[in-house]
């Protein structure tokens, strides 16, 4: 799956970080955004794919896309 969303308001580099840091940093980064703004998260933790989905479901911040490119995972999450 390859999804590219060009417009985002903030980018979080979570490469090299393990559970639960990508989620904790995502939560923190979302705090700086306003409703409707989009956060791009780049991670290498394979567990982050399911975790970001669960985080989105639990918190209600829509996960606009989730894609893998060369063992790097790219997520776009919108602040609710």
């Amino acid at each position: 799956m390859e999804v590219t969303i060009v417009n985002f308001d903030k980018e979080l580099d979570a490469r090299g970080l393990s559970c639960p840091l990508p989620i904790l940093k995502t939560k923190k980064a979302l705090n700086d955004l306003t409703t409707g703004q989009v956060l791009k998260v780049v991670a290498t933790d394979p567990g982050s794919v399911k975790d970001m989905q669960a985080f989105s479901t639990q918190t209600g911040n829509p996960l606009l896309s989730s894609a893998e490119e060369n063992k790097t995972f790219v997520f776009f999450m919108q602040k609710k």
Binding site: S18, P20, L24, K28, F55, Q58, T59
Partner: protein, 212 residues
Amino acid sequence: MEMQSEKTAVLPVNADLDRAITERVDAILDQRLEAKLAALKAARVPSMTIIATKGTLDWAYPPFILASTAAALGWNVSMFFTFYGLELLKKDLSSLRVSPLGNPAMPMKMPFGPEWFKSIGWNIPNAVQSIIPGFEAFATTMMRQTIKNNGVADIAELRELSVEAGVNLIGCQMTVDLFGYKREDFVADVKEYVGAASFLPMARDADVSLFI
């Protein structure tokens, strides 16, 4: 007597009506109750309480990982630190250690060198571990390096993120006294020092309660 016979006479009609009303009311109530429960569930903020009782580097992880993640998910989290768990509240966490002695499940692998070397499991007998001076310090250094190599947060960072996310840190007053700790030893983020009687009501109301 007269009244009773009158009642008996109209019973079939009433019974039909009663049954119809009961069925209808039940159906409406079930529907409304389900909708109401779903709304309540959606509006409810989940909560978790954790009792942290271990004070070693390895066992410091599960409580803080779960607490910080739950807080990130928007849950209310309280952690009760008792016995050796109080070590996790200290300002200086550099004294946290891990012991391979009597800890047979702990993988003993080197965090450096070529892959073939890193994959070796060093099966060192307890008797040998126990007589080598500084073995525990060595194992702790290796563990810290492995943690760093894998991009796993250190405990101080996880604790800080937990506090930032609103996790309540609670110390057990009894063990503070028992082990002769001073409150100045602990981070100022500790909300309160209480006993079991204060913690248990929080645990009773929590959706998830863990003893670690």
